[in-house]
């Protein structure tokens, strides 16, 4: 990705500040044909005024038609090509529960599953056992010993857990054991790289012991491992952009992804007001702030159009004026992806985005919404373009070539 590499070459020092507010799952859809989206239905006088002085557009998180998970969607917003920098499922789950992964740890996402008397997978999710049951089984599995290693087994939710191996000489480059269908045997972990041979053997030993321990725990009588890998080595935002970056997010997953790109994680509370307080308290210390708003996404996932509207209105009322009054050089409002209440899930739809600065070119967009942003100066653009544009507008890039 040339653009990303250009940033390493062109960034210069500066005093200017960039604030990126990520309203999770911001983009939406009309519930009825002809109706407004969540953002269009929301009363957002502050965002509308800001949009009128901004360059607006619709960002495409990964690629047209592709619905992103939270990890890759955030990487894209931070300017990291999500197709080049893949984060394993295990690492993402560990981030999600705030597990402090070390650089040499291997993390796998685990699913409790059901196998029949021949060992064939009968239910990949063990009948979606309750979280408490999952936690109890994790407690059991903690007794498994592997030579020379520490192991951690941490419950996530329902049938999901995280397995972490810690010790010397572990390697990524491993296949997963979930066969993605029932009626077949679980796969074994295979080394995809020569140096991963020992790690693959250790994971298979762990699985064999887990199978024995769970034999009489029907329906959760076996485990499947997905995406075992080490933490990817991502260049830090300091390296790529020369920015001291701070992250303000209430959920562990987003703090985890921010940490992967080298941001400092700023302690904060549960509410938007507490997040704003954190921003103000650390204002002098950082050049870039990632400010995450979670509850829009949860409302969208629940199919609750009205609740998503009301979270957006809360952001408009509480967050926008507070940040404007800090006078950042660049103020971005965007989302990591769309989560339309209509679909009750993440979706592929491009995400309304505004970039405000003294040096942006206004574009006649007068309201912050999906249809309005379509006519904006950014057009429909890859999310990975946002950081280069932020850097340019913060006057933190030098000229390319003479």
């Amino acid at each position: 990705m040339a653009n990303f590499d250009l940033m390493k070459e062109l960034h210069v020092a500066g005093q200017s500040k960039i604030v990126m507010v990520v309203i999770d799952g911001l983009g939406g859809l009309p519930m009825e044909p002809g109706g407004p989206t969540e953002l269009e239905a929301a009363r957002t006088p502050n965002l509308d005024s800001l949009a009128a002085e901004s360059t607006c557009g619709l960002s495409v998180p990964i690629a047209p038609g592709v619905t992103p998970g939270s990890g890759p969607a955030h990487l894209a917003l931070f300017g990291y090509d999500p197709l080049r920098y893949e984060i394993g499922r295990g690492v993402l789950e560990a981030c999600g529960i705030g597990f402090p992964l070390g650089p040499d740890d291997v993390a796998a996402r685990g699913n409790f599953c059901t196998v029949d008397e021949n060992g064939l997978v009968a239910d990949r999710r063990a009948g979606r056992i309750p979280t408490e049951k999952g936690a109890e089984l994790c407690q059991l599995l903690r007794a498994i010993q592997l030579p020379g290693l520490e192991t951690f087994v941490e419950p996530v939710m329902d049938y999901r857990f995280v397995l972490v191996l810690r010790g010397e000489g572990l390697s990524g480059g491993l296949s997963e054991t979930d066969p993605q269908q029932v009626g077949v045997l679980p796969r074994t972990v295979e080394a995809l790289l020569p140096e991963a041979q020992r790690t693959a053997e250790l994971l298979n030993q762990w699985i064999a012991q887990a199978r024995e321990m769970l034999a009489d725990q029907h329906p959760a009588n076996m485990v499947l491992l997905r995406g075992p890998d080490k933490t990817p080595l991502l260049p830090s935002m300091a390296e790529v952009y020369g920015l001291r970056a701070g992250a303000i997010a209430t959920y562990p997953m987003y703090r985890g992804v921010a940490k992967l790109v080298g941001m400092d994680i700023l302690e904060t509370g549960e509410t938007l007001e507490e997040e704003l307080e954190t921003l103000k308290n650390h204002w002098a210390e950082y050049d870039f702030f990632f400010f995450h708003v979670k509850k829009t996404d949860s409302a969208g996932e629940d199919g609750d159009f009205a609740r998503k509207v009301s979270v957006i209105e809360h952001v408009d009322e509480a967050v926008v004026p507070a940040i404007t009054s800090l006078e950042p050089a660049v103020f971005i409002v965007t989302g990591d992806h769309s989560t339309p209440a209509l679909l009750k899930s993440h979706s592929w739809h491009p995400v309304p985005t505004l970039l405000h600065s003294r040096h942006c070119r206004p574009d006649g967009v007068r309201a912050f919404g999906e249809r309005a942003c379509m006519g904006g100066g950014l057009g429909v653009f890859p999310a990975t373009d946002l950081m280069p544009l932020a850097m340019a507008n913060a006057l933190r890039l030098t000229k390319f070539g003479a």
Copy 2:
């Protein structure tokens, strides 16, 4: 660059003519929020009429957020990926002063600088010595002899000069000596390719002799070399597009870049009227004309909004009707980059562009300006797309595949 390679394959012969008017630094910004840009403020009835019959858009010279120098920005307009075909600073400076570089010459941009008693760089620009002083020092340095080589030392402006080595067996693939900071030693030239070893040694010998000669010339008591390289081997426009291309430009830099892509440089005067006269006189001889307008950029660099407006109005009045009356098959008006008077420098903002032909699809844009072009049929597009579109509209491309 797939698109570029397609051109080599698909171009066919024709009689149609393409004129590309490049208004240097055309794009702008409002001086006050809510105000017009330079182009929007200018009275441009002819450009507006032309836009109404054209496909319009905003071109991105290099990549979103990236501010281009003139060299890469022009390469992009001619369809050459500026990230693939990089022109060294030395070659560009040589172009800029009209120095006739040979294909085997190595050119470096030189800066006179100040070093302290320990040889550490104290001022990378030697206090910006006046041009006359620089010329005098260049005269001194011409005495340096290198075995088997001719050397040329040509003043540019202030503390800047061009060093050219001419002889057999010289190679590009060299590092530069400017450490980009003070308080450290100048770097030595290092060979980045095995075949560059001898050239690196020769340049280091030259620098050692220059240091001795300049020892008592404080503040200009040392030199730094930037971007030493040979002229890049670019495929010619004849090869890529099958076009006989002529360049009409008043400044050496632009003539130099045009020459790099194989254009004939047409002798012309200093004024737009003289450039038009040149165009008419050579009309029969070429398929493609690059017509460069310099003074918009200079006005932008000076922060002179009104003067930039008036140059644009002059282009509208003098250049547009004259070219229209020649009835080119394709008439493009664009810029190489933006130079907003607000910023007094080149910038990253996309550039208003119109493409007029009998076969373009009009798009409802009724005025030639930044905001109007945002709604155009070309959208926000890479500058490298412009030549393929010109070729298509000139009916000079055959079908891809059966």
